[in-house]
């Protein structure tokens, strides 16, 4: 058994790596994979067996199901671990004092640390965060906003928690709604007021020197929130009327226009980059958020209109009809009946656009020439130092900070996002 596994491994490694530097430099457990497999099977089997025996004792008919469920739990935990491994590793690197991934591994400690599968906990430090955040100078009222923001966020979490604990759902939901507004408003004010001149350090001669790009992640997050938020709002504003017209009105050329909307979107957007660059340059919008927002929105509209049309197709027009019978104009019906009903869909379009824009970097990299306007995506690509070195630690810390907004938004609106996505996906 063991020689077979070993010879298989040797054979595979022989085919792929005639002479590998790496082989000698890794920590190995002889036949580790076999051990892992055995342990996994034993543990999973043991738990399943335990569940089976428990089921047999309590509800004999369900014993098989119990065992299966227990094994499923085990399997899903493995999947979760694998899914989270990169996330955990990123977090660990950002909390490590090493700025380079090439540094030597520790020679003592748990085998997971010695092998470098997990970063060395002995080097735990907040220095990377200090580095990327240390030159951010918030004004006093911005600090107050941050405190309000965090307070409201904690409060919202508390309402969620006490809802689970059996509090009054109705009241808690209302409170959470208020908290949501406080979070949104304080964040909006923060985003609008933070500006590039707040990122500096004082040099030895006592002069104020603007920070270098690796120290401005907060500014980039702010820029990205601004650009993504405005793009989302823009896409919603412009596409809803179009979606409404496609869904509810019949006029000559409707189908052709719809096709045009869908097909023009299939041109690989950023390959038109040079043309967009010259357009923005002509409009005087290069290196401005407005230019980037317009460029992004142009790419978002037809998709958003398409989704909104699909949504309207699925809801009955009877309410509008009633309103029209009561003498409302078409616009009135749209404004007072359709829009309020569609808020979840509009939120979905907004979020989709927001998230899509957050990760974009090609267009931003070309259109934003000044580093103070950069978005997270562009900023994260500039953690190289000179010609060959990447500052991994600082990069990881910035990446963690840059991920937080989108992570929070995603999980806050998880149902709105995944629910509509599924509906949209199934509908095509």
């Amino acid at each position: 058994m063991i020689p077979l596994g070993k010879s298989l491994a040797v054979l595979v490694s022989f085919v792929f790596l005639p002479l590998s530097f790496a082989q000698g430099d890794f920590v190995r457990i002889p036949n580790g994979w076999l051990w892992f497999l055995i342990i996994f099977i034993v543990v999973t089997g043991g738990i399943a067996l335990g569940a089976y025996l428990y089921g047999k004792a309590t509800r004999p008919g369900k014993a098989g199901q119990y065992a299966l469920t227990a094994a499923t739990h085990m399997f899903i935990w493995v999947v979760i671990l694998l899914t989270f491994y990169p996330v955990i590793y990123l977090l660990a690197i950002s909390l490590n004092e090493n700025d380079s991934i090439t540094s030597a591994l520790p020679t003592t400690g748990n085998i997971l640390f010695r092998s470098g599968v997990l970063p060395d906990p002995a080097k735990f430090s907040f220095i990377q965060y200090q580095k990327v955040l240390g030159e951010t100078h918030l004004l006093s009222y911005q600090w107050i906003l941050v405190v309000i923001f965090l307070g409201a966020a904690l409060f919202a979490l508390w309402t969620l928690f006490s809802e689970r604990m059996g509090g009054s759902i109705h009241r808690l939901e209302r409170l959470r709604g208020y908290a949501g507004w406080v979070i949104f408003l304080s964040l909006a004010v923060l985003v609008i007021t933070i500006n590039p001149s707040q990122f500096y350090f004082i040099n030895e001669a006592g002069q104020r020197v603007a920070s270098s790009t690796e120290r401005k992640i907060v500014l980039y997050i702010r820029n990205t929130l601004l650009v993504s938020g405005a793009t989302g709002i823009f896409a919603v504003l412009i596409s809803t009327t179009a979606g409404y017209a496609f869904a509810r009105m019949r006029f000559q050329g409707r189908y052709q226009t719809l096709l045009g909307f869908v097909f023009v979107q299939m041109f690989p957007g950023f390959m038109a980059l040079v043309a967009i660059f010259y357009l923005m340059s002509y409009l005087g919008l290069l290196n401005t958020y407005a230019g980037l927002i317009l460029a992004y929105s142009g790419g978002a509209i037809s998709f958003a209109a398409w989704i909104f049309k699909g949504y309207l197709d699925s809801i009955s027009p009877s309410l509008e009809e009633a309103a029209r019978v009561d003498g409302a104009t078409r616009w009135g019906a749209f404004w007072r009946i359709i829009l309020p009903v569609s808020i979840p869909m509009l939120l979905f379009i907004f979020l989709l656009q927001f998230i899509g824009t957050y990760s974009e970097f090609i267009m931003a990299n070309i259109l934003l020439t000044g580093e103070n306007q950069w978005t997270v995506g562009v900023g994260l690509r500039n953690f190289t130092n000179g010609r060959f070195n990447t500052q991994w630690g600082a990069l990881a810390a910035s990446a963690v900070l840059g991920s937080i907004p989108i992570l929070v938004i995603f999980y806050s609106f998880q149902n709105a996002l995944t629910g509509q996505h599924t509906a949209g996906g199934v509908k095509g």
């Binding site: 002479l19 007021t193 919008l285 000044g370």
Partner: protein, 395 residues
């Protein structure tokens, strides 16, 4: 009150274009070098009253960004610095200002001739050189107390050191920039020169016998001498040297600060010649300052370019890194530094990278060719090199 004004201004400029005052500089510097540049910028503002804003741009992106955005008035006034091999494309693309006029006789008299040549394209000076850099043999004197006198010695020492714990000689072998030393020393070249010394794009030496011989030597490093296994790239070699596990590395002055910080005792020297007198000379790069042809403030930009290339500034920078100042006076001043002296000796006969636009098409295909050549012992070197050369010509 000031804060309110501040906020109002921030609001106003939120969606509109921000009009920058003074001059803008794109730089790929980081850490100590960036700090040096920030200090020089602050000093310049003190002396000339012109604020300088520094924007970090990745080295690989400068060329494209400048070509696209300079004509639209959106690029920096100055690029500080850029290796000279990139200037051909930018100068041909019309985005670099001819700086011949800014070079006074005094300035030229003090300028390293090789550096001046490196930034001369089509008979015009397209940048003010800052420093000369290039790879040399960097020896960890704790592992290799007796520096090798000949190439054969070097191989022997390296083989002696290559064991479970340490390595003898490693470098980023798949990188054409470094590996050019073996190609050049065997008679290979990138572009030939005509009678007047100008580079000729049609005379390509990347598939000639010399290049093949050089590539075969590189294969020997891996397969015959057993020195440089697969998987070694810049990060591996650099990391091992920092950890004190590598005897000799072929690397440039930019790495010296890290080695110093890690407490490695180093000696910098040329790759030693073979016993029968074959010398090894690789690429030399000159980094210099470029002026944007479309700069709205070329007067101040030129002043700042001269400010950071003045000998005093070059000396401070040289002491930080080990790069050889392009000013003869400054080079003289730091020549007693053993590391700078080591690099100076190694680069004395090095070949400046070609600076014609066609050079932009060389790095990609040649890098790919080297990885293929080094992939296994049976690789067909002439065929691979011919393919790469055809691509360089075809592009």
């Amino acid at each position: 009150m000031k804060k309110i004004l501040f906020t109002v201004m921030a609001f106003a400029t939120l969606f509109g274009a921000v009009q920058a005052q003074g001059i803008t500089v794109w730089t790929h510097f980081g850490d100590a070098e960036l700090e040096w540049l920030q200090n020089e910028a602050a000093a310049f503002e003190g002396a000339f009253g012109v604020p300088v804003s520094l924007v970090k741009v990745e080295l690989g992106e400068i060329k494209q960004k400048l070509l696209l955005s300079a004509p639209e008035g959106e690029a920096a006034d100055l690029i500080v610095p850029i290796p000279h091999d990139q200037i051909g494309e930018m100068a041909s693309g019309g985005v670099l200002a001819d700086m011949t006029g800014f070079a006074t006789a005094d300035y030229l008299a003090d300028l390293n001739k090789q550096a001046q040549l490196a930034f001369t394209y089509n008979g015009k000076l397209f940048g003010l050189p800052m420093y000369v850099e290039g790879p040399a043999l960097i020896v960890n004197t704790d592992l290799v107390p007796e520096a090798p006198a000949t190439f054969e010695d070097m191989i022997a020492i390296a083989q002696g050191l290559t064991n479970d714990d340490t390595y003898g000689f490693l470098y980023d072998i798949g990188n054409f920039y470094f590996s050019y030393i073996w190609i050049n020393s065997n008679g290979g070249y990138v572009f030939g020169r005509d009678a007047s010394g100008s580079l000729v794009a049609s005379d390509l030496g990347l598939a000639n016998e010399g290049t093949v011989a050089g590539a075969e030597l590189m294969k020997k490093f891996r397969f015959d001498y057993g020195l440089i296994p697969t998987g070694v790239d810049y990060g591996v070699a650099d990391g091992l040297f920092i950890d004190g596990k590598l005897g000799m590395i072929y690397n440039g002055p930019w790495a010296i600060p890290n080695y110093r910080d890690a407490g490695v005792n180093v000696k910098v020297m040329p790759v030693p010649p073979t016993a029968d007198g074959q010398y090894f000379n690789g690429f030399m790069g000159v980094q210099g300052i470029l002026l944007n042809q479309f700069s709205a403030n070329s007067v101040d930009a030129a002043n700042f370019a001269k400010w950071i290339t003045r000998p005093a500034a070059q000396v401070t920078l040289a002491n930080l890194t080990g790069k050889i100042p392009s000013s003869n006076k400054a080079a003289q001043e730091v020549s007693s530094d053993p590391i700078i002296a080591g690099f100076a000796a190694a680069l004395a006969n090095a070949v400046p990278m070609p600076n014609i636009p066609e050079m932009g098409n060389v790095w990609g295909p040649m890098g790919d060719a080297l990885t293929q050549i080094l992939d296994n012992q049976e690789s067909d070197v002439p065929a691979i090199l011919n393919g790469a050369a055809a691509q360089v010509e075809g592009n």
